[in-house]
Structure formats: structure tokens, C-alpha cells
């Protein structure tokens, strides 16, 4: 089997099909260069992940934003309210019995 960088990346991401995953693991056991490459790639991904902020919001700022968004929904969305006269007109227009 020809191993490409794409295979290694998919293996690290855990998106490789099970059979290919096993093949890569077997190959890594036989060839130290492949094992080394996988380790290096894994380390690189861990480093990249640690450099990306994953903001944990405090409940106060979260609640403020949620309240703002609720206000925006109320201001922008206008629910269709059926006029009572339209409802009456609809009933009057309906044929109840037809001979």
C-alpha cells in the first residue's frame, strides 16, 4: 500500500476507514520512518490546537449577549397576526353544504 500524507493526516484526524487505519498501524510498526512521521504530525497538531484560543465565556457576558439577541429577534421578526375580520370572512366564504 502506498501511504500518502493525506492518509497520515486522515489517520491522525481519526477519519480513516478502520481497515486502512489498521494497515497504517502495521506499517508504522514495521517502518520507523512512518512511525516517526506520525508522531511528528501528531505533535504538530497538538501544538496548533494549543495556539488556537477556545474562549470560555463567563455567564454574565453570555447572558448579556443572549438578552441582546432576544431583543433583536423581537425588533426584526414580525409574526403574522391574522386579523379577526379575515378569520370571519374566511368562515363566511366557506361552503358548508352543497347540493
Amino acid at each position: 500500500m502506498n501511504i500518502s500524507y493525506a492518509h497520515i493526516n486522515a489517520y491522525i484526524k481519526g477519519t480513516l476507514p478502520r481497515d486502512l487505519e489498521s494497515q497504517i498501524e502495521e506499517l508504522a510498526q514495521k517502518e520507523t520512518s512512518i512511525a516517526k512521521m506520525i508522531e511528528e504530525k501528531k505533535d504538530e497538531q497538538t501544538l496548533i490546537q494549543s495556539l488556537i484560543p477556545s474562549h470560555k465565556s463567563d455567564s454574565r457576558s453570555l447572558k448579556t449577549i443572549q438578552a441582546d439577541l432576544e431583543l433583536i429577534t423581537d425588533e426584526i421578526l414580525v409574526e403574522e397576526k391574522t386579523n379577526i375580520l379575515d378569520k370571519v370572512a374566511k368562515v363566511l366564504d366557506t361552503t358548508i353544504l352543497e347540493f
Binding site: I48, S61, L62, T64, I65, Q66, D68
Partner: protein, 159 residues
């Protein structure tokens, strides 16, 4: 769909919106402003669709898919607005020393890395988000990761 239903769904995805907006700009007030403006743009564009949509009978998985699509659309608006406000954002971003390598990247790279690493976006999601082709994603991924690591290594050398 009623306003209360939209609000309850939006409430659930707000932490996601907040996390993404922080990746665009590490400034609390601007984060709130960015999210509010982006949500307004989204609502104006999608008001008719949202009102006519019925989610009352949705199963949990259908609701989850609906929320994913809702978050995707609002995140896109956050990103588009951030691009428009890039100059203002760039000057504010300089304040942050924490995650400096990340905030030194351009907005597209930051968005890309955040979507992939924090939200597990697939290539299909990314193509829809950036409205691009598969080969563009390869370029975005390479540039974002390479520049992030380069900036980090340069910073380490200087420290």
C-alpha cells in the same frame, strides 16, 4: 416558527457564536457588537424563511441539525462583518499578547483554524462557509497552519 422558539434555539448556540467572534477579535465589547450586528443581518435576510418554518414537531436530531444550520449561517455573517471591519479589528487585536501567533494571522486563517479545530468542521462545511472549491481549502489549510507555526517559532526565538 415563533419568536420564542427562535430565541430558545439562538440561546443554545450563543456560546458557539461567542467563541467564534472571540477568534475574530479578542475584545469583549466588540465581540458583543459583532454578534449582534451579524445576527441582525442574518434575521433581516432570513425572516420570512424562519417565520414560515415549523419546528414544533421536530425530533431531537432534526432540531440539532436545524441548530447546526442556524449557527453556520450566523457564523458566516460574523465572518463577513469581521472582514468588513478588518481595519478596526486589526488595531484592537494588537492589544492581545495571549495567543499572539493566532491573532497575528489574517481573518480567513483565524476563521479556518477555529472552525476546524474548535468546531470540527468538515471540508463540506468549510466549502459552504468560505464559498470556495476543494483546492482552495488545501491552500487555506496550508497557509493558516504554516503561518501560525512560523509566527509561534519566531516568537519563541525572540523570547
Amino acid at each position: 416558527m415563533k419568536k420564542e422558539e427562535i430565541n430558545s434555539q439562538i440561546k443554545i448556540i450563543t456560546p458557539t457564536l461567542q467563541k467564534f467572534a472571540w477568534a475574530m477579535i479578542p475584545e469583549e465589547e466588540m465581540v458583543a457588537e459583532l454578534i449582534s450586528d451579524a445576527y441582525s443581518v442574518f434575521l433581516i435576510k432570513s425572516a420570512d424563511d424562519l417565520i414560515s418554518k415549523e419546528i414544533t414537531d421536530f425530533s431531537n436530531s432534526e432540531l440539532s441539525l436545524f441548530r447546526k444550520s442556524l449557527a453556520h449561517k450566523v457564523l458566516k455573517e460574523i465572518y463577513n462583518l469581521a472582514l468588513k471591519k478588518a481595519d478596526k479589528i486589526r488595531s484592537e487585536s494588537k492589544r492581545s499578547l495571549e495567543y499572539k501567533s493566532f491573532y497575528d494571522l489574517d481573518l480567513r486563517s483565524r476563521a479556518f483554524l477555529c472552525l476546524v479545530h474548535n468546531f470540527n468542521y468538515t471540508d463540506k462545511d468549510l466549502k459552504s462557509f468560505f464559498e470556495c472549491e476543494s483546492h482552495d481549502l488545501i491552500e487555506y489549510r496550508f497557509n493558516a497552519q504554516a503561518n501560525l507555526l512560523k509566527d509561534y517559532q519566531d516568537t519563541e526565538v525572540h523570547v
